[in-house]
Symmetry: C2
């Protein structure tokens, strides 16, 4: 349908993958991890056996969805979770019916 993919779609698509949700779990338990740190802890703490490149690509998806912010220091790159995009997500349908949501132009 060639639908325009905005911020809402990005956040939902990022959350659609179990590995990416586990990454968010790990960042919730210990924020500001590097890529290698995440790979090790995902394996030991969550039984995840993904490769470094796989995790790296997942982190790119999470970052472009606004769920993860990165900060470089020397040869290290730290990843921090940002739950801001999550807040308006569920509230969208948890409001009582009767009020027409209307077209805001940003939802999709």
């Amino acid at each position: 349908m060639l639908a325009y993919s905005g911020a809402v779609t990005d956040a939902f698509k990022a959350l659609a993958d179990p590995t990416r949700r586990t990454i968010l779990d790990e960042l919730t338990a210990r924020d500001g991890q590097t890529l290698f740190e995440l790979c090790a802890r995902l394996t030991t703490n969550h039984g995840l056996a993904s490769s470094r490149q796989a995790i790296s690509q997942h982190l790119e998806v999470l970052e472009s969805a606004g769920l993860v912010r990165t900060r470089r220091e020397g040869r290290y790159k730290f990843h921090e979770i940002d739950t801001a995009p999550l807040e308006p997500i569920v509230e969208r349908w948890l409001r009582r019916p009767g009020s027409d949501p209307g077209g805001t132009g940003e939802t999709s």
Copy 2:
């Protein structure tokens, strides 16, 4: 990876599509619509130009994710939104860090 897809994954995947989110919007504004009713209102109210079969398949996804329940009456089939699967979604990462989530076995 042959990952087991549970209820959590189903709900997130169902929400990953803009058309399905618009369907939930429509059901929030007017619950208990039929398939044809939804097709018409999605076109007029949301500028959606999806075919009947496409909407029908989206409704199947939403139903198997537990976000929509159906009720048959004669040749009509009414669709009702169920927001129950949405509630534990965001709370998962909005809790303050420090408490190790651990492996409950149902998250993934």
